[in-house]
């Protein structure tokens, strides 16, 4: 009964979204505040309906209601509780429902932030947001309905894909979706500005926190997904340039560009049209990512042809929203007032360079992801574009961007001094070269470029922190003064510094992968295998029986230079219902370095195939991403003045940064 009520609530949400789409637009055109005020209350009601539907589906999962087809296909009565909950979004239908839920959540937050957004802008934004909601609700109801019933009910479910039975799944999709969908707000604001034909620095100031929040979540979501793939797939890799990963990287790159261009717009009232275009493109790429992952074109172009309803529907949504918003852009953008010009050597000039590089990098990923698909559709030929392509195209674009990063951060607004900036970075550059030399002296092997990668990482981290030092410390003054000055710097400055330092940490972690050591072997209990300075001894293999799987767990003792460090356990599982084997990598963390063991086949003589990786500093990759997101969040807590004026804000709640919560 609850399931049916949830289904009905979803239908009701569709009707409400239609009203939320039409009435505020009409109100804004007719200049009627009463009609415009329908937008917030209907946005809240839509959230109520979709939230109720989501709860109803969750309840069906919790009670293992096998008269719901979606539950039968993705759950099992013996599954642990947490996976019953995460199983709700561990499948196509449920994840689309989560997508819409987050969309409505953002809409509701915009609705509640009524005092910080001018009314017309709010009404238009919520109307655009409602249009997106209508499209996705129709998609769910017509092609991917999670409330489809199975009569007669099944006796038992088919279980969730074992790869997805992992705490990572409980966190990764919601984070990623908050990121994707968060950009829908920037998109809706951009469309609203186009509809209204008015855009100024206030617009940028309103949009920036939303973009920043979405960007933080997307960063975390991508990092989480990468770590999950690292420990769950058992290959020891952390990024595969897989189309699914690229699908999330593209909006991230565009979103990063958007983040920086809104800063320029806010401070200098420039780059307006470009910012609007970026906002549209970022969300379009989010939609494209959803399409790539959800329509099945990636697994095989055939699977798209087999179930054309879904794929065609999302393709239709893509065309309407991307085509529609770009058409709106082409029609209205010329009406927007252009901002002033500015000098090339200035912070805003550097940010333009940043935008150019990020957009080009995004374009290369776009081509590398979609070209194979297009080729397969046109000629039937299957090619795979992998790491070599991206190393040859993406890296040359990103490296100069990273090299310029500390420069841009150090340059002043309006009129910068290149030589002066370079002087301030001399020390940092020297330290980076020192790091390269030390790395060269200490290590053997690895690609030639790796020490330079380490140098680049050090340069980025120190170059970012340099801003704090130069702005607070001066020769001859006591440290306490410097400290007071540093803590007094605006939080957005700290946020910038921390986020950029996070980029440096990621670069360090990636460069260090050059010294990975991998060894393969077959071990019997008591035998040893080594990688790098570490050695593992297989103690025993224990078979275990859990609720929905059985596993062989291999217990290893870890030694470093003969000294015991602890034990690590790696498992091979067989999920009974699906008859699907998985590996659970055993990971021992020591500082930032990890030892990674995954099990292979059992040999006829009882020996266990073992794959061992030594991964120095690998944790920096994800820590760096988390630091980036933290920097973004810190910047979000900065209550910046509503206009560009130098001032130090005192504590008072941030006005438009609600999504950070």
């Amino acid at each position: 009964m609850l399931v049916e009520a949830g289904h009905f609530a979803l239908a009701l949400a569709l009707g409400l979204s239609l009203i939320q789409f039409v009435v505020p637009l009409w109100g804004a055109r007719a200049n009627d505040p009463v009609l415009m005020s329908v937008a917030p209350s209907s946005a809240l009601a839509v959230l109520g309906c979709v939230g109720f539907a989501f709860l109803a589906l969750t309840f069906a999962y919790l009670t293992s209601d096998f008269s719901v087809l979606n539950v039968v296909e993705n759950s099992h009565s013996t599954k642990p509780l947490i996976y019953k909950i995460s199983g709700v979004w561990g499948n196509h239908e449920g994840s689309m429902l989560l997508w819409v839920l987050i969309l409505c959540l953002f809409g509701a937050v915009v609705a509640l932030a009524r005092n910080s957004i001018p009314m017309r802008l709010q009404a238009n934004t919520l109307a655009v947001q409602a249009a997106v909601t209508v499209a996705f609700l129709l998609f769910i109801l017509m092609t991917s309905n999670p409330f489809r019933r199975l009569i007669p009910a099944a006796a038992e479910g088919q279980d969730l894909n074992p790869l997805l039975q992992d705490p990572g799944l409980a966190i990764h999709p919601p984070l990623l979706y908050i990121g994707y969908v968060g950009f829908s707000i920037s998109f809706a604001f951009a469309c609203a500005a186009l509809i209204d034909g008015r855009i100024d620095a206030v617009w940028a100031r309103i949009v920036r926190p939303w973009t920043l929040a979405a960007w933080c979540f997307l960063t975390l979501g991508i990092a989480m997904g990468s770590y999950w793939a690292y420990y769950e797939l058992g290959w020891g890799g952390w990024w595969f340039w897989d189309p699914v990963e690229n699908a999330s990287l593209m909006p991230w790159l565009a979103g990063t560009a958007l983040l920086h261009s809104t800063v320029v717009m806010e401070k200098r009232d420039a780059l307006k049209v470009w910012t609007i275009l970026l906002a549209i493109l970022t969300f379009s790429l989010s939609l494209l990512g959803t399409f790539l992952v959800r329509s099945g074109v990636l697994t095989s172009v055939h699977s798209f042809a087999v179930d054309p309803a879904r794929g065609t529907f999302i393709l239709g949504i893509l065309m309407i929203f991307i085509g529609g918003s770009l058409a709106l852009f082409a029609w209205r953008a010329p009406l927007l007032q252009q901002g002033g010009l500015f000098a090339p050597i200035s912070r805003e000039g550097a940010l333009v360079v940043n935008n150019l590089f990020l957009a080009s990098a995004c374009a290369t990923v776009f081509i590398g992801t979609l070209y194979p698909l297009a080729l397969e559709v046109l000629t039937g030929e299957k090619i795979s574009v992998g790491a070599p392509f991206f190393n040859a195209t993406f890296l040359p674009l990103v490296l100069p961007l990273l090299l310029l990063l500390p420069f841009g951060q150090t340059l002043a607004w309006k009129r910068g001094n290149f030589l002066g900036t370079a002087q301030r970075l001399y020390t940092i550059f020297g330290l980076a070269i020192l790091a390269v030399l030390i790395t060269l002296a200490l290590t053997r092997g690895g690609p030639v470029l790796a020490p330079f990668g380490i140098g680049l990482g050090v340069y980025l981290v120190l170059g970012s922190l340099n801003e704090i030092v130069t702005r607070s410390w001066s020769r001859g003054k006591p440290l306490s003064v410097a400290w007071a000055k540093a803590t007094g710097l605006p939080r957005s400055t700290w946020g910038t510094v921390i986020a950029h330092a996070g980029v440096g940490l990621v670069v360090l972690g990636i460069s260090a992968t050059a010294w990975d050591v991998e060894s393969l072997g077959t071990l019997k209990p008591g035998e040893r295998i080594g990688a790098g300075p570490y050695e593992l001894r297989l103690e025993r293999i224990v078979p275990r029986q859990e609720a929905n799987y059985r596993e062989d767990a291999a217990l290893f003792r870890v030694f470093r230079n003969g000294q015991e460090l602890g034990t690590v356990e790696s498992m091979k599982r067989l999920y009974v219902t699906r008859g699907m084997p998985t590996t659970e990598a055993g990971i021992l963390t020591s500082g930032l370095t990890q030892i990674y063991v995954s099990l292979g086949e059992v040999q006829p003589d009882g020996a266990m195939g073992v794959r061992l990786y030594y991964k120095p500093l690998v944790l920096l990759i994800w820590i760096g991403a988390v630091v980036m997101a933290l920097g973004g969040a810190l910047s979000l807590t900065d209550r910046r003045l509503r206009i560009a004026a130098p001032s130090r804000a005192k504590a008072s709640p941030p006005v438009a940064s609600v999504p950070a919560e």
Partner: protein, 366 residues
């Protein structure tokens, strides 16, 4: 009935969410224009910051001037108080109220009626669960035994019961594993060995492999009268090309068969078929023996995969079986179904694609 009340209340609440702001028109009209209020707040804030000393006076003046310009632009654009009241505004509000009162219930009911299961609402809960009790019971029993065995995998009797059921349901690979477990925990008994061998033969599409032969030999060594083992060994001989040996073995079995044995006819067919084939030049006999049994097995597999889905390997086996039986159209249809069923499974799709290539069933591509 209860549920309809709930759905009605939900609809009413949704309509209210739209009507409520419309009813507050007077309050909204009295409000200061939110467009300009926004900038007034800004100016007040700048003044506070200047008084506090957080902003230099000249900076504050510049900032205030900027905010003032925006305020002028915003207030010059529209005059809200005049638009929130008056005849056209009233007409607009009426139109929106009508829209809310009609569109919401109609859309919700139409969409729910089209995609929902409203007939489930009137039936008492659980009634629909009891249909098709026979099939359900078998499935339930299998699930229960599986659950039991997951906890106590050493219970050989459970595997012994489960194995033939798996075979019947077309879950052949699981049947083989179940027989292996039963043999491990209950001992190598002739009857069980012969059934295990049979499952091995079915897995290999009717071919008696060397492994299966060894199993049948072992069964015979335990019980020389095991008809099943002897029949399959005769078939093995035939598949190895030793047709005469197979024929004489079949004849021996027939001679020793009791007159009421149900498999007499089958053995006679085998002999007749061998005689017929020997005249011809093409010894294509591999698939012919026991064709009905294979057809039955394939049907079982097909209906199970249709109903419950299965592994990519099982789909691939179904495709191959149809091709072996000469039913290409069915094989093509099975390929299509397999792609649908495995749409979310990249590795599975590869298996299917590879099998389709191997069998040259490529006319299903887009």
């Amino acid at each position: 009935m209860m549920i309809w009340v709930i759905l009605m209340v939900m609809t009413a609440a949704a309509v209210m969410a739209v009507l409520w702001p419309l009813s507050r028109s007077a309050a909204v009209a009295r409000q200061v224009d939110p467009n300009t209020q926004f900038y007034r707040d800004q100016i007040a804030e700048i003044e506070r910051d200047r008084d506090r000393g957080a902003m230099l006076p000249e900076e504050a003046e510049a900032a205030k001037a900027e905010a003032g310009r925006r305020l002028l632009r915003a207030s010059g654009l529209r005059d809200h108080e005049a638009l929130a009241v008056g005849e056209p505004a009233l007409r607009r509000r009426r139109a929106v109220s009508t829209l809310a009162l009609s569109v919401l219930p109609i859309v919700a009911l139409a969409v729910y009626g089209a995609y929902g299961s409203p007939h489930l609402l009137s039936e008492p809960p659980g009634a629909q669960l009891r249909q098709d009790a026979g099939k359900l019971d078998l499935d339930t029993a299998v699930v229960q035994i599986e659950a039991h065995l997951a906890k106590e995998p050493q219970d050989g009797r459970g595997w012994d019961v489960l194995a033939p059921v798996y075979l019947r349901l077309g879950r052949i690979e699981e049947a083989v594993k179940a027989y292996e477990s039963a043999l491990r925990y209950l001992g190598r008994d002739a009857g069980r060995l012969a059934s295990y061998g049979e499952a091995l033969v079915i897995v290999h599409d009717g071919i008696v492999t060397a492994d299966a032969q060894a199993v049948f030999q072992e069964a015979l060594s335990l019980d020389a009268s095991s008809v099943k083992a002897r029949l399959y060994l005769a078939r093995a001989a035939e598949q190895d090309g030793q047709v005469e040996k197979a024929k004489s073995e079949y004849q021996t079995i027939l001679a020793s068969a009791p007159p009421e044995a149900p498999w007499r006819g089958f053995v006679q067919d085998q002999i007749a078929r061998i005689d017929g084939n020997q005249g011809g030049s093409a010894p294509a006999m591999r698939e012919q023996p026991n064709a009905e049994a294979i057809v039955g097995m394939v049907q079982g597999l097909a209906s199970r995969l249709e109903a419950q889905g299965g592994s990519p390997e099982e789909w691939a086996r179904l495709m191959r079986s149809y091709v072996v039986l000469g039913q290409r159209d069915k094989a093509v249809a099975a390929t299509k179904r397999a792609r649908e069923a495995l749409a979310q499974d990249a590795a599975g799709l590869r298996t299917i694609d590879a099998m389709a290539q191997e069998l040259k069933l490529t006319d299903t591509g887009p």
